[in-house]
Symmetry: C2
Subunit: 170 residues, 2 copies
């Protein structure tokens, strides 16, 4: 999992906005805060319906080189070869035949966290307090210890924390 | 402000418990993750009623060398020279004649954050997901940019993030 949050733990503002990330994105290095290196290790993406629709609205489909699975109970016709999936996170994951899955979108991330199926957690914290929005951690996750793998900071004020979840399937 | 939270942003568990901090506290250095240095710069503490009662329950009063103000609308007789205060955060702060105030307790911290009276924010993140409890950021805080001052990590897996709030009274 590779996400950006505000200092108060939001993935997006109250209306889904991520414009508060613009200042740090404008100062991103060529590696986009390690995203390119992370993305290169991934063989499939699983995202929720809202994240999918946001990606569709981009000028260019952002994932031409990856298998994309959209978790939704309202399947639509794929436009870029993406597949619609539906069900419990463990069943979905088992059906993917993927080694390293990139989870995207708050709902999907929370479902997989609750099912204890997330094995690494990279959270990039932007230097801003939002005061409201879509939380990464809504509550109800399983209580578990993390293992700190490392941290990194950038001149933009972004701080990246990397954790592993011990005892989770690898 | 100098607080410890879980990776999912809780100051305490659902029943106020902070036992999840024991593993990192057991591995603390002599400086207690920088707390002693921070505490030395403080000339007064402002805490809420619950934090005060927790402090009273300790075997020894933890703040013998500092002025302590308890924000409460149910004042009780002081037992260690502490003073009971009540009112809006800005009025309380103005009455203290203190330069560097240490805010303690979720309610007090949130009130002062909402009133834009917090000028530095040190959050030590413990390597654990709790899944529920008393949040540091409950929502409703003013949206504002932070300035990252620094980060530090310890072998226990604790990560400390230090921010300043630009434009706040100093």
């Amino acid at each position: 999992m590779f996400v950006a949050t505000s200092a108060d733990g939001y993935l997006a503002g109250p209306d889904g906005e991520i414009d508060w990330l613009e200042p740090v994105n404008a100062m991103a290095d060529a590696e986009s805060y390690g995203f390119h290196a992370f993305y290169a290790t991934v063989d499939a993406l699983v995202m929720g319906r809202r994240t999918y629709e946001a990606a569709l609205s981009f000028p260019k489909w952002p994932y031409p080189d990856k298998r994309v699975y959209v978790m939704t109970n309202r399947p639509v016709a794929p436009r870029h070869g993406e597949r619609m999936v539906f069900g419990a996170p463990d069943a979905v994951l088992a059906s993917l035949e993927a080694k390293h899955v990139y989870l995207d979108g708050g709902v999907v991330i929370r479902q997989f966290l609750a099912a204890n199926l997330v094995d690494d957690l990279t959270i990039s914290i932007a230097p801003v307090v939002l005061g409201g929005g879509v939380r990464l951690f809504e509550g109800g996750e399983r209580k578990h210890a993390l293992e700190l793998v490392g941290t990194q900071t950038w001149p933009s004020g972004l701080v990246q924390l990397r954790w592993r979840l011990p005892g989770v399937r690898t």
